[in-house]
């Protein structure tokens, strides 16, 4: 080793001794290392998948079991219309859950079968007395309760004054409310 190397090395070691890392910085670093770190998202992925699956299952169960079980049509007397129907979804909490599920599934299957053979009426939508109604000329007024109206509007929201085609099943229950055209005339 040359004299220059010796000198440099001596000065370098002296400098290192005189300038260690500040104690405060070392303490900060040591504290940082001991802090619990945020979980890596990758490691949380299986848990997130499990959570998503649970939420989906709960939602499905809610759809199947906690929805109202019965479709109800109440006929009302009215001086203006030939007939007034009040369509609603009625809860039946006395039924066991399994029965409610089976019934809802049967309703679904039944509705699918009936859709092709459904009756069709054209009427105008209106919103009165906090309730959606469909006026079919002066022959029929169909009142739809809030819960059923919400379900029927899942695909497309209704507009008051809109002409719609009312698809009804064999028992008269509403299967669907679709956009329709104004009829040329109302038969009296």
């Amino acid at each position: 080793m040359s004299k220059l190397d010796e000198k440099l090395q001596q000065l370098y070691q002296q400098s290192k001794t005189e300038h260690p890392m500040p104690q405060q910085l070392k303490q900060q670093l040591l504290q940082l290392t001991s802090k619990p770190k945020a979980k890596n998202w990758k490691s949380l992925w299986p848990a997130m998948q499990g959570l998503a699956a649970s939420v989906a299952l709960i939602w499905l169960a809610q759809q199947l079991w906690w929805q109202p079980a019965y479709y109800q049509i109440v006929l009302q007397s009215d001086t203006t219309y030939h007939q007034v129907q009040l369509h609603s979804l009625a809860k039946n909490e006395t039924l066991p859950e399994q029965t409610a599920y089976q019934q809802r599934y049967q309703q679904y299957q039944h509705a699918r079968q009936q859709l092709d053979h459904s009756n069709s009426l054209v009427g105008q939508l209106r919103f009165a007395d906090q309730q959606w109604q469909i006026e079919v000329c002066d022959q029929l007024l169909v009142k739809i309760d809030q819960q059923l109206a919400l379900e029927l509007q899942q695909d497309q929201p209704w507009l008051a004054g809109q002409w719609v085609e009312l698809k009804t099943g064999q028992q008269g229950q509403i299967l669907a409310v679709q956009s329709g055209k104004q009829p040329l005339h109302c038969s009296s």
């Binding site: 040359s2 004299k3 220059l4 000198k7 440099l8 090395q9 000065l11 370098y12 002296q14 400098s15 290192k16 300038h19 260690p20 890392m21 500040p22 910085l25 070392k26 900060q28 670093l29 040591l30 940082l32 290392t33 001991s34 770190k37």
Partner: protein, 189 residues
Amino acid sequence: MLLSWLIRRDTEPESDPLSLMQSYIQTDNPAYLALLINCYGDDLYHFLLKQTDPALAADLSQQSWLKVMEQKQQFAGHSSFKTWLFAIGRNLLLDEFRKQKRWLYEVNEELVAEDTSPDQLLEQQQNELQLQQLLLRLPLLQRETLLLQLEGFSLQQIAQITAAEPETVKSRLRYARQVLAKQFGGHDE
């Protein structure tokens, strides 16, 4: 007896830096990193301090260790832990210099001590020239190369840290020594 041996093995700190780092990667146990900080914290800080001011050296030291924590999976073990650590610190320093436009290829006269008349210089030499003043006479790349050599890194390791060819490292060291030899009055024997 077997149990006590197992317990002792489990709690005994690893002494080899490479093993310490590998254990840290595998277990995420901060105790291993704390040992590494105790081993190399002063070395890295001093390397940075010799090229900048104390506040920035402290800041860059902290950033370097944070990068070690964040990027520990990138440590492949192809180089020593210290080489990897210094490469991180060096890159952070260069980033800072680029930000501050302090990229020095030539001697920066502003950083050289102002009172450097021949008489005063001679006096300083006689009174043990401070390393900092000597180093400030070197361009950045020569300075860092020399510092790394004084820190004990081999040519190959310096080449890894500075992302340069070994021949380039040799060349930088040669020029650095020539400049310093003049300062010492031709004592490079």
